[in-house]
């Protein structure tokens, strides 16, 4: 009887932990989507106050993530066992909440802020830390509850915020949006282009390979998560700018190589499949991170040309062939590295759960 009550209590704790982690993930998903929308809003409207719709989305998401973190921490305390994913969530949420007042003070002092600024760095660090903590928490807590791998929607909810947050961090250090009347934090154009060429393929391939592995190398997980990424990108980076609407069909086609990579991962059971899929995913970054990467590469290739919001698509198509030639080999190579790392990390997570 007591044994059964103990089991029920453990199940209840695990259920609450999973729920808490999922709420953290969804909160960060809303927050990082708001952040990306905010970047687009700055390009289009140059908002001058802290109070804007993208900031509302960003901080609503942060609030939701806080609620999830409270559930995770209170459940951990009740069971007298705080695992390191829970600690990572706590650190991330603390950073997020520290960033809010700093961001408000920064806006009040300097008005229009750049993309890379002290409060934004704290904010994105908090998003990366808490989304990673939540993803690992879901990956470990769910199997202990259900004795099976997480279902596809849960894998997407866990991994998509990590992907978006990591992409946000790379954008922050590669886009030339950080020069204001008060300070100049813009990266060197070449360094920004190199960071984008290495960073985006690595995280994209790592996330997709990890998703595929966590889903048992069956077709669907990697494609679904890539579709979700494309949906968020369309909603936050393209839809707000009506000059880019006609390019939405082309942007959506980025799913083609990514679905092909997922097919290779799921159907070709050779060690080489991860390498080939990684190379394909690495190459796809050139379409997947449109339209923002237009600014990154234009700054290096065409220093005298301004990427106005209405000209973004024209400039992107103008430079696409040249940029692809320059980045194809490094992007494929770094994609391979990312895929191998993501695949192995997911395998280790699965082994840890089994142990």
């Amino acid at each position: 009887m007591n044994y059964q009550r103990g089991l029920d209590s453990m199940h209840e704790s695990a259920r609450r932990l999973v729920a808490g982690y999922v709420i953290v993930s969804l909160g960060i998903l809303l927050a990082i989507s708001g952040g990306t929308w905010d970047v687009t809003n700055h390009l289009l409207n140059k908002p001058e106050t802290f109070f804007s719709p993208p900031h509302a989305a960003l901080y609503s998401g942060t609030g939701a993530a806080l609620a999830g973190a409270i559930i995770v921490i209170s459940t951990s305390r009740a069971t007298k066992r705080t695992d390191w994913p829970a600690k990572l969530v706590l650190v991330g949420i603390s950073l997020l909440f520290a960033a809010g007042p700093i961001d408000f003070a920064w806006h009040s002092t300097f008005g229009l802020d750049g993309l890379l600024s002290p409060p934004h760095s704290v904010l994105v660090s908090g998003m990366v830390a808490s989304s990673m903590g939540a993803a690992i928490g879901i990956a470990t807590a769910y199997p202990s509850l259900q004795r099976k791998a997480p279902p596809l929607p849960l894998i997407i909810a866990a991994i998509l915020p990590v992907w978006l947050s990591a992409a946000g961090a790379i954008h922050m250090f590669s886009l030339p949006f950080s020069k204001t009347g008060f300070y100049d934090f813009n990266p060197d154009p070449l360094a920004g282009a190199i960071l984008a060429t290495i960073g985006f393929p690595v995280i994209t391939a790592a996330v997709m390979a990890a998703s595929s592995t966590l889903f048992g190398r069956r077709f669907g997980a990697a494609t679904a998560i890539a579709s979700s990424f494309i949906l968020v990108g369309t909603l936050t980076s393209i839809l707000p700018n009506d000059a880019l609407w006609s390019t939405i069909p082309l942007y959506i086609t980025a799913i083609v190589p990514l679905a092909c990579a997922d097919t290779i991962l799921s159907r070709w059971k050779s060690p080489y499949s991860v390498l080939v899929a990684g190379a394909i995913i690495g190459l796809a970054f050139i379409v997947l991170y449109y339209p923002l990467i237009t600014h990154t590469y234009n700054k290096e290739l065409e220093k005298d040309r301004t990427v106005w919001a209405s000209l973004t698509a024209l400039i992107y198509f103008d430079m696409l062939g040249t940029v692809f030639l320059l980045v194809a080999v490094p992007a494929a190579c770094t994609g391979i590295v990312g895929a191998v790392v993501g695949h192995r990390m997911a395998q280790r997570a699965q082994l840890a759960v089994l142990k």
């Binding site: 289009l44 409207n45 140059k46 001058e48 008005g111 000059a243 006609s246 390019t247 082309l250 086609t253 083609v256 190589p257 092909c260 990579a261 097919t263 290779i264 159907r267 070709w268 059971k269 499949s273 080939v276 394909i280 190459l283 050139i286 379409v287 220093k303 005298d304 040309r305 301004t306 106005w308 919001a309 209405s310 000209l311 698509a313 024209l314 198509f317 103008d318 696409l320 062939g321 692809f324």
Partner: protein
């Protein structure tokens, strides 16, 4: 189906995809896109006085519109080539989407109608009012109070620029005097007499 065949087909589809998206589609896609052609116009400039005494002030009201396509950014600049300080002018009222900026001598400013890609150092102060974006048909105005620093002829330069600058229609006036930014301006003046 043979797994290697499926994987090979996926690989072939990827090659075809990149060939199409990177090299075949951009050109026809670009043909469907065009650069917008904003057409800024200064619709009126009114000065409260033609002659004032030194120490006094006059007001200037500038109204502008966009008679072309949507501008990502359109600005109205009111500059004071005889002045040495930007606080020679005070903004009394405006309805622009962004707060007007004060340009001080020594500040770096964009030149040649290409935004910040070509920067020059300002020699005299100006006030720049902008709306981002500035849609077709929208009109904005700004009211300034100006207190000249010395007696004599006090000159005011007024212009409007639409960005992206996609042709001669994207600046106003179309010709005339060229200012410190290598851009055309309309000139107005007030006589400042001894107090």
């Amino acid at each position: 189906m043979n797994t290697k065949v499926v994987a090979g087909a996926a690989l072939a589809a990827t090659v075809v995809y990149f060939a199409l998206v990177v090299y075949a589609l951009p050109q026809p896609y670009s043909l469907t896109l065009s650069s917008p052609r904003p057409a800024p116009v200064i619709t009126s400039v009114s000065l409260s006085d033609d002659v004032i005494a030194l120490g006094g002030e006059f007001s200037i009201r500038v109204s502008a519109a966009n008679r072309g396509d949507s501008a990502d950014l359109q600005l109205v600049s009111i500059a004071f080539p005889n002045a040495t300080r930007a606080d020679v002018a005070t903004v009394r009222d405006h309805n622009f989407k962004q707060m007007p900026l004060f340009i001080w001598p020594g500040d770096e400013i964009g030149a040649g109608y290409i935004g910040t890609q070509r920067m020059v150092v300002a020699n005299y102060p100006a006030v720049e009012a902008m709306s981002r974006p500035w849609e077709p048909g929208e009109a904005f105005n700004i009211d300034l109070s100006v207190r000249p620093e010395s007696e004599g002829r006090f000159v005011v330069f007024v212009k409007a620029v639409g960005l992206p600058h996609s042709g001669d229609q994207a600046h106003y006036p179309a010709g005339g005097i060229v200012d410190q930014q290598d851009e055309y301006v309309a000139m107005y003046e007030v006589q400042v007499t001894k107090a």
